[in-house]
């Protein structure tokens, strides 16, 4: 076996490595270089030094987008994970029809973000106009709530599946022992279930945090950043910087913002992974 692996390892490693280098590492490095340039097309880039970063860090819209995105990510991550975990608990109780419910809850995840954005735009605007309230793109708080509702609806099912897998992998002995010892449901949840699904929580938090930060399609379709850039999240802000104005400088600014954005997302996910990993228990 060892020998075979020694002989054939390139067959397994090289294609993936090549794809990683060509499809990820090279574009990433090129992007990093371009973030210091002015350019229209990537093969005619002029060096622009740190100006792009200075602009990106001092632009008020970008700062607003950062805080808006951060708030959105926190709220949506909490809502999604609490709801997904609650549904997962309910659907692991062995009553009739759990499989049907699981499929139904999972389904929204199969629809693309742009489509969902437009559908929810129509739905929520109808409700708001019936209530006589300003529509989504007219009043930023409604835009924010709309985005949270949309994200929850889309993501809860997906996270639920991960939590269900986690809950089902808890050995029955633990639960039986607990019930023999007379532990209440509440105690079982806090002392046995949650510590044992910690790996699932790590994954779900990671996914919902990064999804929240990187949100683009839904933002574009639901509010388009209106009113007056107030509901513009980071990814949409970068897109608008890149394509909203003519001239080589703007591509550089957009690129610098994109690099900052990438570093930010990586940093946040690393911190979160470290924090939740330390809470995981070995079964």
């Amino acid at each position: 076996m060892e020998k075979t692996i020694k002989k054939f390892w390139p067959i397994f490693v090289v294609p993936t490595l090549a794809a990683f280098l060509v499809g990820f590492l090279w574009p990433f490095l090129q992007g990093l270089y371009l973030s210091f340039c002015k350019f229209i097309t990537i093969d005619k880039a002029d060096w622009n030094g740190l100006k792009n970063y200075i602009f990106a860090l001092t632009e008020t819209n970008f700062q607003h987008s950062f805080w808006f995105t951060a708030l959105f990510t926190i709220v949506s991550t909490i809502c999604i994970n609490i709801a997904a975990f609650a549904i997962a608990l309910a659907l692991t109780r062995n009553f009739k029809g759990t499989n049907t419910f699981r499929s139904i809850f999972f389904m929204p995840n199969l629809i693309g973000g742009i489509v969902l954005g437009y559908i929810w735009n129509i739905l929520l605007n109808c409700v708001l106009s019936l209530l006589g309230k300003p529509l989504l793109s007219l009043y930023a708080p409604y835009g924010f709530i709309g985005l949270v509702i949309l994200m929850c609806w889309q993501q809860i099912g997906y996270m639920m599946i991960i939590y269900i897998a986690g809950l089902q992998s808890i050995p029955n002995d633990y639960l039986e022992a607990a019930s023999i010892d007379g532990a209440s449901n509440w105690k079982v949840l806090w002392k046995i279930k949650i510590p044992n699904v910690m790996p699932s929580i790590t994954i779900c938090l990671f996914l919902s945090l990064t999804n929240g930060f990187k949100l683009f399609d839904q933002n574009l379709a639901l509010t388009g950043g209106d009113p007056n850039h107030q509901t513009e999240m980071l990814a949409l802000n970068i897109y608008e910087t890149f394509y909203g104005r003519s001239g080589a400088a703007w591509k550089g600014y957009g690129q610098a913002k994109a690099v900052l954005f990438c570093i930010l997302v990586i940093a946040i996910s690393l911190i979160q992974l470290r924090a939740t990993r330390s809470k995981e228990v070995q079964q």
């Binding site: 229209i40 605007n125 106009s129 300003p134 529509l135 009113p227 909203g244 104005r245 003519s246």
Partner: protein, 439 residues
């Protein structure tokens, strides 16, 4: 033994696969000196361009590839296409501001045969002495009128030749809305599919009159002299419409068109490109429709014509090989001078050799054929009657961001959650800020 036979066969097939495309490229190179790659801007004319490309190849042997960017993604498509090994040899810019991005990529057309075919020098875009882009289609916009409904309300098109007249007619129709069963204006949709009608096309009018006053053709600081008139016409649109101004934000371009087609409103602000959507089976005939100028109560209204201009300019890629540049120039020249080319670009129903409809453009070249488009004919009639067309100055708007911000302010104003001062600020201060970014 068997296995090695199979691998040999496989090897032969694979080798053949690699040689065949190579061979066809070599054959093509043998036939023609250059080739043309046109990145088309107008999705509605894609089928016609594909057919025209085939016809040209059949006639001359020069391969022509036409790729059409999806609606609203032209800039992105061009950016990625032009960086490739086989970049487009022919592409579009939308005016002086669009050219700002691409001037380093444009071939100087000075002295080329196609430049000599232009009916007026005004249709060429210059950077210093170099002519970098030439207009390929002239369009007009104004207020499209459903004449049948207008006469039901007791008026004729001739009754309207000033803002005052338009306002009286519209407000009278609104006052009798329940009795008549239709509104004055279709919804002034502020959804992204339609808001350009207000933040770009309607906003052209105050800019045009200000430029006229100052005797300029562009500026980096706009005064907003006529913004009160802009407010007056926008108010007229939103307060005499099929719907409540608060829901305009969710109204689309299709909503507006469908309302007009269904006879729910008399007036519909749009352009000559809308003709094919309005006329045809189960729709209107030429006799039902007219296009009138957008009056905002400024200047010599009796002699005001439609808004006529272009935001479609052709450029040739400077970085293409000399033979491809020549092939592209020849192709452009053929399009605007040959019978097939001019018929295809300017003709209506059945203008293509395949029997399909032509592109219906008014092309600013000497060989242009007469258009069958009612609105285009009306524009010509207005000009003939001595009326002055309003030029398209919105090509000098500083950026898409400026338009979007103005649109956002207009939407909030229409819904009653924002004030007109925000619109003025987006217009005037936004203009200066965006121009300062441009330099």
């Amino acid at each position: 033994m068997k296995r090695s036979n199979v691998s040999k066969k496989l090897a032969v097939i694979m080798a053949a696969c690699m040689i065949v495309p190579q061979a066809s490229v070599m054959a093509a190179e043998g036939e023609a000196a250059g080739e043309v790659y046109y990145l088309n801007f107008k999705p509605e004319a894609d089928a016609q361009w594909q057919e025209l490309a085939e016809l040209y190849t059949a006639e001359t042997g020069v391969p022509v590839t036409v790729v059409t960017a999806a609606s609203n993604t032209y800039e992105q498509t061009l950016m990625s296409e032009i960086a490739k090994d086989n970049p487009p040899t022919m592409f579009h810019v939308n005016g002086p501001i669009g050219l700002e991005n691409w001037k380093d990529y444009c071939y100087d057309l000075t002295g080329s045969s196609i430049l000599g075919e232009l009916t007026s020098e005004d249709y060429a875009l210059k950077d210093g002495d170099a002519t970098l882009a030439i207009a390929m289609a002239i369009e007009s916009y104004g207020i499209i009128v459903n004449k049948t409904l207008l006469s039901e309300a007791g008026y004729e098109v001739e009754d309207i030749d000033s803002f005052e007249d338009l306002k009286n007619v519209a407000e009278d129709i609104t006052a009798r809305k329940d009795e008549l069963g239709f509104a004055a204006f279709t919804s002034a949709g502020m959804d992204g599919s339609s808001n350009w009608r207000y933040h770009t096309h309607l906003a052209n009018l105050p800019i045009y009159f200000e430029y006229l006053d100052e005797g300029i053709s562009s500026t980096d600081t706009i005064k907003g002299t006529y913004l009160d008139n802009y407010k007056a016409i926008f108010d007229l649109y939103i307060n005499n419409s099929t719907c409540d101004p608060a829901v305009l934000v969710s109204k689309t371009g299709d909503d507006s068109r469908n309302e007009f087609l269904a006879g729910e409103a008399v007036f519909y602000q749009n352009g000559s490109w809308e003709y094919s959507n309005l006329v045809g089976e189960d729709k209107f005939s030429d006799d039902d429709l007219a296009m009138i100028p957008i009056y905002i109560g400024v200047g010599d209204e009796a002699n005001q014509g439609l808004c006529t201009g272009t935001e479609n300019y052709w450029c040739v890629n400077k970085d293409a090989s000399p033979e491809n540049i020549q092939a592209t120039l020849d192709f452009m020249y053929w399009c605007v001078t040959s019978e097939t080319g001019t018929e295809a670009m300017g003709g209506g129903e059945g203008a293509m050799p395949s029997g399909e409809a032509g592109m219906g453009f008014v092309i600013p070249f000497k060989g242009a054929i007469e258009s069958t488009n009612l609105f285009v004919k009306q524009d010509a009639a207005y000009t003939e009657a001595g009326k002055t067309p309003v030029s398209w100055n919105f090509t000098t708007m500083p950026s898409q961001t400026w338009k979007d911000d103005l649109g956002s302010a207009l939407t909030s104003y229409a819904a009653g959650v924002g004030s007109w001062d925000d619109v003025v600020s987006a217009f005037v201060d936004g203009w200066a800020a965006e121009y300062s970014y441009l330099s």
